[in-house]
């Protein structure tokens, strides 16, 4: 990363046309600068620690002024996150962070606004705000820590818990069919959808970078271990021995291959969905994260450990369309260009007045 004379960060800086509206850092920043003085209060061993470390390590890369970064969260273990970052932050109420962030991002294009949320916070009580923010393509980056459980309230099942889960509120097993957050957000017209894993720092960093580079709403699901109430939920993706065989790393423009020596791959199946095949088989698909039609990205989202023995991680979708905030600000600019800056007294006088002497 190099800082140019005008204070903007040149090479290496994460950038897009919206991020360019955010003031650049005067000098390169460090991870430590992004670390607040607050004691971290998660259970020892919680996956949130790893995510925090990765985010703190990644933020300097953005190359923007720290005071122009804002993290907004809801309620949940995960939502404590903003306290640990030395940026502006708000720990709001359950499920509403995307709405609050929408107001902030829309009125302040000079800020980089991030949302931290959990699977309960964002998909249960906050599901509507999440999806509307995504369809509007508001310029916010939403990091959803999916531990498939309600951590803070001590272990009830969540909208991503598997059917039959025994929890405090479902001693006979849960009945609800879970959401697939990727399918859900793709169905809601999201322009950027990605997935990563708490413990894979390098991969998570690459996904965060892609989200930051996306000029609009980004949704990042992060598989996160809750070692107290749902320990080991993602172990198969973490175990060094097995993980390559069950993880499909999505890369735009690359064939959808995985497994030892990338021996396995993905092709279209008879039912219109995707199926696993040998990398040498005909019809192996190439990943297109930029395809405007999300159909194939959606089909990819249906690959899961349970159904196909493989879980894709990485960027499913990344398409560039105007963001809500840039359009709104453009409308304001156009109005001001056309009509000049509003004149209060002539506004309130209106067209029909009369005078009494």
């Amino acid at each position: 990363m190099t800082v140019t004379t005008n204070g903007k960060v040149a090479a290496g800086r994460v950038t897009n046309r919206l991020l360019d509206l955010v003031p650049a850092a005067a000098a390169p920043q460090t991870r430590k600068e992004f670390t607040s003085d607050q004691e971290v209060r998660w259970c020892p061993g919680c996956g949130d620690y790893a995510i925090l470390a990765t985010v703190q390590g990644f933020l300097p890369e953005l190359g923007i002024a720290r005071e122009n970064v804002v993290f907004i969260s809801g309620i949940g273990c995960s939502s404590r996150f903003p306290y640990y970052l030395n940026t502006y932050g708000m720990h709001s109420i359950h499920g509403r962070a995307p709405a609050i962030a929408t107001g902030l991002a829309t009125s302040r294009p000079d800020l980089s606004v991030w949302v931290i949320t959990g699977d309960g916070d964002s998909l249960s009580i906050g599901g509507n705000h999440l999806l509307h923010a995504l369809r509007r393509n508001v310029n916010i980056k939403i990091l959803m820590f999916n531990n498939r459980i309600y951590g803070l309230t001590k272990g009830q099942y969540s909208p991503t818990s598997e059917v039959g889960k025994i929890t405090k509120s479902t001693p006979h097993g849960s009945l609800d069919r879970p959401y697939n957050p990727t399918s859900l957000t793709l169905g809601a017209e999201a322009t950027f959808v990605a997935r990563s894993v708490d413990s894979d720092r390098q991969h998570l960093t690459s996904v965060l970078r892609a989200a930051a580079e996306h000029p609009g709403a980004a949704f990042v699901e992060i598989f996160q271990n809750c070692n107290i109430f749902n320990d080991g939920a993602f172990d198969s993706l973490k175990d060094r021995d097995t993980r390559d065989d069950v993880t499909l790393r999505l890369e735009h423009g690359q064939p959808l291959a995985f497994g030892a020596d990338s021996g396995k791959a993905v092709r279209r199946g008879a039912d219109g969905g995707l199926e696993i095949c040998a990398a040498t088989d005909a019809g192996v698909l190439v990943h297109d994260a930029h395809a405007v039609d999300p159909s194939q990205q959606f089909a990819l989202s249906r690959l899961t450990g349970d159904t196909h023995g493989v879980t894709p991680i990485g960027v499913f979708r990344d398409v560039d369309v105007p963001s809500y905030d840039e359009e709104l600000n453009a409308q304001i600019e156009r109005a001001q260009q056309r009509q000049g800056k509003g004149d209060l007294m002539s506004l309130i006088a209106g067209k029909e007045t009369w005078t009494i002497a």
Binding site: S92, L111, N128, L328, A335, Q336, M345, L347, G350
Partner: protein, 632 residues
């Protein structure tokens, strides 16, 4: 015009009146609101004082021809300062039997009644619920009935107009009948007509033939008045002697919208409105969304919670965050209002009250959200409350709400209602220099010496106002985190300390209570100084109460009047004022919500007069109640 007709016209008496109440009524599709609005415009242009009251069903187009589908518009105008849209109409224009059915009960004997006879067909009578024709069965004996074949005369007039034939179909021609009615009424009350013709030309600029048709109908109505024998008198209401200045007519929602734009300018903050449509608040969203040139951002959210959430997010970023809604929306916003109390950020929560509970009577007025505004949140979460008293006052009230919100870093409730929202009155336009300036200062530097050097403490309060500093993102060195969990006094760090919680609860309360020192004392209007009864009101009842008080005083009785603009906290002298009268009467369009508050706070045995009818009080009704209390 034949000689004979001229004769009649000359013979016709012109009566001078000091005030008149007219009501236009017809099917929802008949354009009665537009007709009433335009008659009001003519009246405003003429220089009368005036007050209006629209009344429409909750359905978009309730079933044609039925009383449920009737839409009405009432206008009270006068040669002097008036306070209400009038208790009962002097003239009712009934475009169909349903309108007659719906409103006849409001008409005092002897009133003028203009009916569109063309609409009194068997089918329409049945739809209206008449078993016999009221035009002939004696139902209308007590009224001065003017039977006018409005529809057919309109069609004839339109067809005769130049350049209309062929271009305007029958349905379109017929639809101009409201302009015929307007023309007739304009003639009857000597209203100036050029404004209306200009208006029609502008409105239908894209279809000039429709403009022509409507103007033809309008003129035909006017001329019909000139020629018919049905009207033996016409009426004149002289212009009112009003304070000198420039005037416009304004409804409450419009004035409120302008007040918000003005508050943005005066405070130097960009306005951000996060809202979800709901009757009768939606028009504020509509109005503000037009004014992008003022940098006003409007955001139609997915629901009320997102609306206030976005507004609060914008406030965090240094905007003047505003959310508009009605009662059911306030209920949904409760949790976020609590968050705003805890975050201590400025936020305007504007509640245009309507009939409740639940969906209630969406298009009707009520004052039953006061206690919700006061108490409708978990925990001790005090929020200042302000209520405008008239449509034009919504402008000033919005500015005052913004002043308090920004100065004290607090959400503020503004309680308007359906009556103020849609009612209108002449507004003496303020001068720029008369508007209060209230600059807002953001924090720019650390405010505390920490162990490792200067720090920023987001909850270190101004000793005077108890407001905390407002440090907005983008300010270097003031990075901080806030949230809805209890915070340590000063540093704002999360704190579960019992004593700290008690202190913070009391500090938040003290901050709001302290506003009492920053608002004008409660003014009492007690001309003789010897009244023993005080009538205390709040919000939109100001007009009817004042009108009632005038009537009582006109009879030589003594009564004092006070009207609360600030409901939380009350002005500092409120207790003193209440205690200096033998009896305090509190008329409210609810079951006694302000009464509950003043009884609790001042232990004054206030008497309630309560009507929950979805309609404003009538002056006569209040005068009667006042007399009873005075004579007790």
């Amino acid at each position: 015009m034949s000689e004979q007709v001229r004769e009649q016209v000359r013979e016709r008496e012109t009566r001078r009146l000091d005030r008149v109440v007219v009501r236009f009524a017809g099917d929802s599709g008949d354009g009665m609101q537009l007709t009433g609005e335009q008659f009001t415009s003519e009246t405003a242009a003429f220089g009368n004082d005036l007050s209006t009251l629209p009344d429409f069903p909750a359905e978009i187009r309730a079933p044609a021809g039925t009383p449920a589908g009737v839409s009405g518009f009432q206008l009270h105008f006068s040669d002097h300062d008036i306070m209400t849209p009038g208790d009962a109409p002097d003239v009712l224009v009934a475009m169909n039997p349903a309108a007659l059915k719906a409103y006849l009960k409001d008409l005092p004997p002897g009133a003028d009644l203009i009916v569109n006879t063309d609409a009194f067909t068997g089918g329409n009578l049945k739809k209206a619920g008449y078993t016999a024709d009221p035009l002939t069965d004696g139902t209308l004996d007590k009224y001065r009935v003017h039977k006018v074949p409005l529809t057919s005369m309109t069609i004839n007039a339109v067809n005769a107009a130049d350049g209309v034939a062929g271009a305007v179909n029958k349905k379109e021609a017929e639809r101009a009948k409201n302009m015929f009615a307007l023309g007739l009424m304009s003639w009857l009350y000597h209203r100036p007509t050029t404004g209306t013709e200009d208006f029609l030309r502008q409105k239908f600029a894209k279809r000039p033939e429709i403009a022509t048709a409507n103007i033809a109908a309008f003129r035909a109505g006017f001329n019909y008045g000139e020629t018919t024998e049905s009207f033996s008198v016409t009426y004149e209401v002289a212009p009112a002697r009003m304070k000198a200045g420039h005037y416009r007519r304004v409804s409450g929602n419009l004035a409120l919208s302008y007040g918000l734009v003005a508050a943005g300018e005066l405070s130097g903050l960009p306005v951000f409105l996060g809202s979800y449509p709901i009757t009768p608040a939606s028009d504020i969203l509509h109005e503000l969304s037009k004014h992008k040139q003022f940098g006003v951002r409007t955001f139609q959210a997915e629901d009320e919670i997102a609306g206030i959430g976005a507004a609060l997010g914008a406030s965090f970023g240094g905007a003047l965050g505003v959310t508009t809604t009605s009662g059911p929306g306030v209920a949904l916003k409760s949790e976020t209002i609590g968050l705003a109390v805890s975050l201590e950020l400025p936020l305007l929560v504007i509640d245009i009250q309507r009939g409740g509970p639940s969906t209630g009577l969406p298009t009707k007025t009520e004052q039953a959200d006061l206690l919700q505004a006061m108490f409708g949140r978990n925990g001790e979460a005090p929020v200042p409350i302000i209520a405008p008293r008239s449509p034009a006052d919504c402008f000033d009230a919005a500015i005052e709400a913004a002043r308090i919100a920004t100065k004290y870093r607090t959400p503020v409730f503004l309680l308007s209602d359906g009556y103020l929202a849609n009612g209108s009155e002449p507004w003496l336009l303020p001068l720029r220099e008369s508007l209060p300036e209230f600059s807002v200062e953001f924090a720019t530097a650390p405010n505390h010496d920490g162990p490792k050097g200067p720090e920023f403490w987001p909850y270190l309060r101004d000793p005077q106002t108890l407001a905390r500093p407002w440090a907005i993102p983008g300010t270097p060195g003031l990075e901080h985190r806030i949230g809805g969990i209890e915070k340590a006094d000063g540093s704002g760090n999360i704190s579960y300390d019992p004593a700290n919680h008690d202190r913070m609860v009391r500090l938040r309360q003290a901050k709001v209570d302290g506003i009492a020192a920053d608002i004008p004392p409660l003014e009492v209007d007690d001309p003789s100084g010897s009244a023993r009864v005080l009538v205390l009101g709040w919000g939109s009842t100001y007009g009817p109460i004042t009108a009632g008080v005038r009537r009582v005083r006109a009879k030589g009785l003594q009564v004092a009047q006070a009207h609360l603009r600030h409901l939380n906290p009350f002005p500092a002298n409120t207790g003193e004022v209440l205690r200096s009268y033998d009896r305090v009467l509190v008329p409210e369009m609810n079951l006694g919500q302000l009464r509950t508050l003043v009884r609790s706070e001042f232990l004054v045995d206030a008497i309630g007069y309560n009507q929950v009818r979805g309609m404003p009080f009538k002056a006569a009704e209040l005068a009667g109640v006042l007399e009873d209390v005075i004579n007790q």
